[in-house]
């Protein structure tokens, strides 16, 4: 008996209560407020009965944090950590411990959202400007973006950018045959649906092929995939002579020593910043990068941080040129990219801050010398005399023996045809170098080969003050803390962003990410060494199949937008396999996320927009008419469920049936999956494929704008058409269409987060989380309804997991715009809800299940207080132009200043409610001037000279 009692006292369901904010008493109080007797009764009034039901019996019962951590530790230890010198764009790196703990393992950085509310995101915006500056200077180009998903997709983005720019409308792309194979594969997948023809040419024949093909762009690798380093200026010149743009995929560490492609004439440079301190993690997440010539900046895909000024003229940063992006341009966008890799870009930028230009050069010189020493030691001939870090040894008939001996000694090398490639990195020790020399039949003596004459870098990089002043750990620690403190993340207050699901990212879920058994595995290591990963991946796939009701899942897509694209490619492949390749019309309701139409265009489809009715639902008559009109060419419908308006549409099964009756497939956008788990499923509503945002519903943190993971689930008939990977057979079906990501399993290193979440919640906890998410949203709707019109409700008056507050009426009486409310919330210490989407002039609030009633009440009190402030303006008690809303946010400098000219008090400005005083967050800047920033685009740190000059001027004043 006592043993059973002992076991029973171990609280296996503990985490459910930790993750779900409200306890029993709070839930009872909130149910009373929304007028429901129980959670079940609330759900019955919210979710249409016809779609209820999902079988989660495949999920194990919940375990607690200790249990999940032990399980994940065992999985990590089932991986074999070898020294992987495989290269292919993935290299061992030493993550500086100060960055590991204070960025990667720090919720102040990893729980932040994409910096759309610029005033409360100045810290990570500055960190991203550091990244952009570093990339721009290393590549020798003036403008760099704030990261892309990985090197291969960055190359694909560059290709489509160039294609869109080409005036002569060539459809040919010439690719040098020494491109990384996974990059070539991703580019091929991206090229085919949009009619781009990929011509692969040997390096020696590049100029002739360019002249013959007259391509729109030429894509080369620098150094090449085998490490060969050559002067690419002639091929860039050949590209330009043929009217093509020159795209170069480059290694940023090599660029510290060799002439940057921008100086050789390249128009676009892409690559990955992984080796700047970001763990291998079995392929990701890592920050891809892109830099362009000035003339191409308005076509740059993805986010770009620009420096502007605030309302007082002080420097302030924000996302620039947003009109390029899918949320504005939709099907005319330059790309579908939304989520990027902010956390990893921040890490890579900090790596450069920590080491400085001299440190980076020293690391690069050591890596290069290691390669040269190995080249000199080997008894085998060298395939390429010039290289940076990767040497190819002509091992001929002895290739198998060398590979086997290396493996026995703990090294993964890259097998080539009759040769072995060894890619050196900063982690390789002198002893390991000696072992490698022995394996190659020699001993370390004189170096051989290396950087070619005439390609030495002569221009400085990372000259800005920030890269030259934080080399002592205290300085670095405080610099990162200073930036962190400027931002609002989930460790400060709730972030009620509708459609973004900013739920708890539990510490126990995060800890396994940096287990060495997960962090130090190369994506192209032999799969026998990644058995722990594979077991975790297969288990997670199975669980996600249960949650979605689908037959198969691919974890490869690195973001929701990439999942959309992958899912549509699966649909396209399915139609083609059935002799229906002419089906290319994609119906998209007008309420859809902007990524939907952008993804459809990338998948070679033509977008037909269908109308929504007054309640925000899909207009069935219009849908039916358009499905019928296009029945011979209908490929797919993209539909979000619950709708982007936060409502469970009653007609969803009918919507799906209409599409199927007209020969189309249904793609469900899983952005709102947090309102489905355990209650219904994509399969239950009638969809054929969906993506999930693991960084929304399944607890991967937003990282300040990435990483994300956007797996797709598919019904059985689409399973043969999932993504796969040219280098790893286990990544997908042999019949698949190819890869959408550089790495076989996308961002494998962060999958333990979702694994831990599902493992600790079990079916019961996941279902309850959904119920409480619905309760929290309805509770906020009930509290705020007397003060703000709630825009859409379901058939029985309930909202789903989010609600829309209509703020359009405040413009007439008091001149208050929704943006004023968003900025005023910052004075209360809150991140604004999603602004002006999906309806202009509104706020969309999604509290998630992880917020306690106390936090919801705080937010409601802030909103109600702001409504009072608006009323004061409407009634003439406050000035129409000079009021707390128009002047928001208020900085400490302003409130504590000697001069105060406003008709309201400093107290009203900074401490509008009693509890604000208890933990005051001070916005670091006033409202940022977007217009000034876009008219005067500046995307890099001021160089050291400008800084010194400013200091001097200040001192002189």
């Amino acid at each position: 008996m006592s043993a059973a009692e002992f076991a029973a006292l171990e609280d296996q369901g503990e985490f459910i209560r930790r993750h779900i904010g409200p306890g029993e008493a709070e839930i009872a109080a909130m149910l009373a407020a929304v007028g429901a007797e129980s959670l079940e009764a609330l759900v019955a009034r919210t979710v249409p009965a016809g779609i209820r039901g999902v079988d989660l019996s495949a999920l194990p019962p919940p375990t607690n944090e200790a249990g999940a951590l032990a399980e994940l530790r065992a999985l990590a230890e089932a991986n074999q950590v070898k020294r992987s010198l495989i290269g292919l764009g993935y290299h061992g790196t030493r993550t500086p411990p100060v960055i590991l703990r204070n960025i990667l393992e720090n919720p102040g950085w990893y729980t932040a959202y994409t910096p759309y509310q610029a005033e409360i995101a100045q810290g990570r915006l500055e960190a991203l400007v550091n990244f952009q500056t570093m990339i721009a200077e290393l590549t020798g180009l003036p403008v760099a973006g704030a990261s892309l998903l990985d090197e291969a997709t960055a190359a694909a983005e560059a290709v489509t950018l160039a294609h869109g720019q080409h005036k002569a409308k060539s459809d040919a792309l010439v690719v040098a045959d020494d491109l990384h194979p996974q990059t070539l594969a991703v580019v091929r997948v991206r090229a085919e649906p949009v009619g781009i023809r990929v011509v692969v040419a040997p390096v020696a024949g590049l100029a002739a092929t360019i002249a013959a093909e007259k391509p729109f762009a030429v894509l080369t690798q620098y150094p090449g995939t085998e490490g060969a380093l050559r002067d690419i200026a002639p091929e860039i010149a050949a590209a330009h002579a043929a009217g093509a743009l020159a795209i170069v995929a480059a290694d940023p560490l090599a660029l510290t020593l060799v002439t940057p492609p921008g100086e050789l004439g390249a128009d676009i440079v892409v690559g990955t910043s992984q080796r700047f301190g970001v763990p291998l993690g079995y392929g990701g997440p890592h920050a891809g990068f892109i830099a362009v010539k000035d003339a191409l900046k308005r076509a740059l895909p993805g986010r770009l941080v620009g420096v502007s000024v605030d309302a007082h003229g002080a420097p302030a940063m924000r996302l620039a040129l947003q009109t390029r992006e899918q949320h504005i341009r939709r099907e005319k966008a330059t790309s579908n990219i939304c989520t990027a890799q902010v956390l990893l870009a921040v890490m890579a930028g900090m790596y450069a801050v920590w080491h400085g230009p001299e440190g980076l050069r020293r690391i690069a010189r050591r890596v290069n010398l290691g390669a040269r020493l190995l080249a000199g030691a080997s008894r085998f001939g060298l395939r390429h005399a010039s290289f940076f870090d990767t040497v190819v040894f002509e091992t001929g008939a002895e290739t198998d023996a060398v590979m086997a001996a290396a493996l026995a000694a703990g090294f993964n090398l890259r097998r080539l045809d009759g040769a072995v490639a060894v890619a050196l990195d900063e982690t390789v020790t002198g002893a390991e170098l000696a072992t490698l020399a022995r394996l190659l039949g020699g001993s370390i003596a004189a170096p051989k080969g290396g950087l070619p004459d005439g390609l030495a870098r002569t221009t400085p990089f990372c000259t800005a003050e920030v890269f030259n002043s934080h080399h002592a750990e205290h300085s670095m620690l405080r610099y990162m803390k200073r930036l962190e403190d400027k931002d609002v993340a989930l460790n400060r207050s709730m972030i009620p962003l509708g459609s973004c699901t900013m739920k708890l990212n539990a510490t126990a879920e995060m800890i396994p990410v940096t287990f060495p058994g997960f962090a130090e595995i190369h994506p192209f290591a032999p799969v026998e060494q990644a058995q722990g990963y594979l077991r975790m991946i297969r288990t997670l796939e199975g669980w996600l199949c249960a949650v979605t009701g689908f037959a198969a899942v691919s974890l490869q897509p690195n973001a929701g937008s990439q999942g959309e694209y992958a899912g549509l490619l699966a649909i396209r492949a399915f139609h083609r396999a059935n002799g229906q390749g002419h089906r290319d019309i994609c119906l998209i309701p007008s309420s859809a996320h902007g990524t939907n139409p952008a993804s459809a265009v990338m998948a070679g489809m033509k977008v037909v927009v269908t109308a929504c009715d007054r309640d925000g639902n899909v207009d069935l008559d219009d849908l039916r008419a358009k499905a019928d009109q296009h029945k011979d060419r209908l490929a797919a419908l993209m539909v979000t469920y619950p709708s982007t308006h936060g409502v469970y549409e009653e007609a969803i099964r009918e919507i799906c049936a209409i599409i199927h009756a007209h020969g189309g497939q249904v793609y469900m956008d899983g952005a709102n999956m947090n309102a489905q788990v355990g209650l219904t499923s994509p399969a239950a509503i009638g969809a054929d494929v969906c993506h999930l945002n693991l960084h929304k519903t399944f607890c991967i943190p937003h990282g300040g704008g990435g990483p994300g993971v956007g797996p797709i689930g598919v019904a059985a008939h689409l399973a043969p058409h999932l993504p796969n990977h040219p280098l790893v057979a286990e990544a997908g079906p042999a019949t698949g269409f190819g890869p959408v990501s550089a790495a076989p399993f996308g961002s494998a290193a962060i999958l333990p987060i979702s694994y831990a979440y599902i493992r600790m919640m079990g079916a019961e906890g996941l279902t309850r989380a959904t119920e409480v998410a619905i309760l929290n949203a309805n509770y906020l709707a009930a509290r705020l309804a007397p003060h703000f019109p709630i825009l859409y409700r379901g058939a029985q008056g309930m909202v789903a997991h989010e609600c829309i507050l209509d703020c359009r009426g405040f413009g007439q009486g008091g001149g208050v715009l929704v943006e004023d409310i968003a900025k005023r919330l910052q004075d209360y210490g809150f991140h604004a809800p999603t602004m002006s989407w999906p309806v202009n002039g509104t706020l969309m609030v999604e509290p998630t299940e992880s917020e306690t009633k106390a936090e919801l009440d705080r937010f409601a009190e802030a909103m109600i207080a702001i409504r009072g402030e608006i009323r004061a303006i409407e009634q003439g008690r406050a000035d129409k132009a000079d009021n707390v809303l128009k002047n928001a946010p208020h900085t400490a400098e302003e409130v504590a200043g000697d001069a105060w000219s406003h008709p309201y008090t400093r107290q009203q400005a900074a401490f509008p409610l009693p509890w604000v005083r208890a933990a005051k967050y001070w916005p670091p800047v006033k409202r940022v001037d977007n217009v000034h920033g876009d008219r005067n685009l500046a995307c890099t740190c001021a160089p050291l000279e400008a800084y010194a000059e400013r200091q001097f001027m200040q001192a002189a004043e």
Binding site: R329, N930, V931, R935
Partner: protein, 123 residues
């Protein structure tokens, strides 16, 4: 000197042989502060309804169409350095381009009263 309007919120005004084209006050107001314009190459031969310029604010991007077929004879280069001209003076200093028409004008152009009714009905 007659000014005509299109349903896409552009105005055109005969100026000798050519027609000067810009966006209306209503259009600049809807866009908000303009931060960028992309203008066609002078000499380009255009069709009526062809998108030949782009105007962007911080929140929206919009194509500007050739309202009539013909040849672009001049563009307002001042807009490139000072796109705010479009907000300050949409129907004068904020003009976009001049087109020498190659045929008859389209018959769906509006006079100012008809355009005012068009704006009214669209809002």
């Amino acid at each position: 000197m007659t000014t005509k309007f299109t349903k896409d919120h552009e105005w055109l005004r005969q100026d000798g042989e050519a027609w000067t084209v810009g966006i209306t006050d209503h259009a600049q107001n809807a866009l908000g502060d303009v931060v960028f314009v992309d203008l066609p190459e002078p000499g380009r031969v255009v069709e009526a309804g062809e998108a030949i310029a782009v105007v962007e604010s911080v929140k929206a991007a919009s194509d500007v169409y050739a309202p009539i077929a013909g040849k672009v004879v001049e563009v307002n280069a001042a807009l490139v350095d000072d796109p705010a001209l479009i907000n300050q003076s949409p129907t004068d200093a904020g003009w976009f381009f001049r087109i020498a028409p190659s045929g008859a004008l389209p018959d769906d152009l509006m006079d100012s009263d008809a355009y005012a009714r068009h704006v009214e009905s669209a809002t």
